[in-house]
């Protein structure tokens, strides 16, 4: 249990710092702003109570906001996605519920499940975030384009991270 907490804390620090110090300053192309810190929220355990997930999301958003100088923006988007997470999980749950020891990773849940989960998760967050950044629906389509393109960039990073840092169970 303690081990688990340490693991999640390390993931939190690493991802928020990577987000704030590296990704924020990486200009791959216009419209591409990946937000890898979402991976931390995605990987919280299945059985964590929803209110705790939401609070953690709120706090995570705050730290990202400090780096981006946008107090409130990431907080709002993360809280929303933290709130929706339990619903997404319920929607995607297997017929006989999640296994006790399973983690929300590709290795445990398979590609189809994981991509759907991450896709919905990232879309909700990015949609909320980019429209809050504009704070209006003018330039609706160009903002929507940013949501999609940045969402794909985030997805790519998330998938690559899954490959790099999680060993397959079968190999063990």
């Amino acid at each position: 249990m303690l081990n688990e907490i340490v693991r999640h804390s390390i993931r939190f620090f690493v991802l928020v710092l990577v987000q704030g110090l590296i990704l924020k300053n990486m200009d791959v192309a216009p419209y591409v702003n990946p937000f890898i810190y979402l991976l931390f929220l995605m990987q919280l355990p299945f059985d964590m109570p929803p209110w705790l997930v939401m609070l953690i999301a709120f706090v995570t958003g705050f730290f990202v906001d400090v780096f981006y100088g946008t107090i409130g923006m990431h907080m709002a988007a993360s809280t929303l996605v933290g709130f929706m997470r339990s619903r997404i999980l319920k929607m995607l749950s297997p017929r006989d519920d999640y296994e006790f020891s399973a983690q929300p990773t590709v290795q445990d849940m398979g590609w189809v499940w994981f991509l759907t989960y991450a896709g919905i998760f990232i879309f909700i967050h990015h949609f909320c975030l980019f429209y809050l950044e504009m704070f209006s629906f003018r330039e609706f389509f160009s903002t929507f384009l940013r949501v999609l393109i940045s969402g794909m960039a985030t997805m790519l990073l998330v998938v690559v991270t899954q490959f790099l840092f999680y060993r397959s169970k079968k190999a063990l």
Binding site: L21, K24, N25, M26, D27, V28, A29, P30, Y31, V32, N33, P50, W51, M54, L55, F58, G61, D65, V66, F67, Y68, G69, T70, I71, G72, M73, M75, A76, T79, L80, F83, S86, F130, L132, E133, M134, F135, E139, S142, T143, R146
Partner: protein, 281 residues
């Protein structure tokens, strides 16, 4: 009462969500749609020092370009130095100039944080109120305009870059002086749009655009960009111009903050007019 409690317990998740979301929105709006918040992050010494450390490292990466730019600047200044002139007419004497008075002062600063890929980009400089920076001052670089100071803390200031959804800068066509508003519509950080340019302007592709000197942030004649393309959209009475910005926002390091020495006088004058207008109503 019991029903209320049951309702609260049953919907605690939704209520907590509304509370946290409301709090976020409050921060967002309270901070004047996050412009002030930008100062919060620059001002607090935690992120401020992290940014500075990082910028110390990254400074080495584009030293070559920076040196070249500084050299150009130096050359331009030396060209104006008295040492580069020779006296043609030995009969003149120096007079204390009462015709011209200095209006703008320049303060050097270094960029500690910058972005170009967001829809609203901010630049953080290592100068603040202790060094004489105040909100609404203009910021320029060796190759052209950069932005306008929004917030200052003791030792840092946050600049709203030209690459920001709310930045509007008055820019004019250098050869005939007709002017319009410079806006950035997102996307490419190298191009912006000049709108509301009157159609009697004799604009052509390749023309230089400079600041018009209207408003108090920039003196007249600071480079803005080059006309890439222009058109009169159907139904419009003005040209919309695609502008190639002269400043490379990805390579900012050494910049100048402009202080308008007459700003206060102009502000007071404006204030008086506004007041008398209000009284007349």
């Amino acid at each position: 009462m019991r029903n209320l409690l049951v309702f609260l317990v049953r919907n605690y998740l939704v209520l907590l969500f509304l509370l946290l979301e409301g709090l976020s929105m409050y921060f967002l709006v309270q901070h004047n749609v996050f412009q002030r918040a930008a100062a919060v992050s620059a001002a607090n010494s935690f992120t401020g020092s992290i940014y500075e450390t990082r910028s110390n490292f990254t400074a080495y990466l584009n030293l070559k370009d920076q040196n070249e730019m500084l050299n150009h600047q130096l050359a331009a200044l030396l060209n104006r130095d008295r040492g580069s002139f020779i006296a043609f007419n030995t009969a003149t004497t120096n007079v204390n100039d009462t015709v011209y008075r200095q209006r703008y002062q320049y303060l050097t600063a270094e960029v500690v944080d910058n972005s170009v890929s967001l829809r609203s980009n901010y630049i953080i400089l290592d100068r603040g109120s202790k060094q004489g920076v105040a909100p609404d001052m203009g910021v320029i670089g060796a190759s052209g305009i950069i932005g306008i100071v929004r917030e200052v803390s003791d030792n840092f200031c946050v600049v709203m870059s030209v690459l920001h959804k709310d930045t509007k800068i008055s820019a004019s066509v250098k050869k005939d002086g007709t002017f319009g508003q410079l806006l950035w519509s997102g996307g490419d950080y190298r191009t912006a749009d000049l709108i509301d340019l009157p159609t009697h302007s004799k604009i052509a592709n390749g023309d230089t655009l400079v600041t018009s000197g209207l408003g108090d942030a920039f003196p007249q004649g600071v480079a803005v960009g080059v006309v890439k393309n222009f058109e009169k959209k159907a139904g419009d009475k003005t040209y919309t111009v695609e502008v190639q910005l002269t400043t490379d926002f990805r390579k900012l390091k050494h910049v100048l903050v402009i202080k308008d020495l007459f700003r206060e006088e102009i502000q007071q004058l404006k204030q008086r007019v506004i007041e008398s207008d209000n009284n007349a109503k």
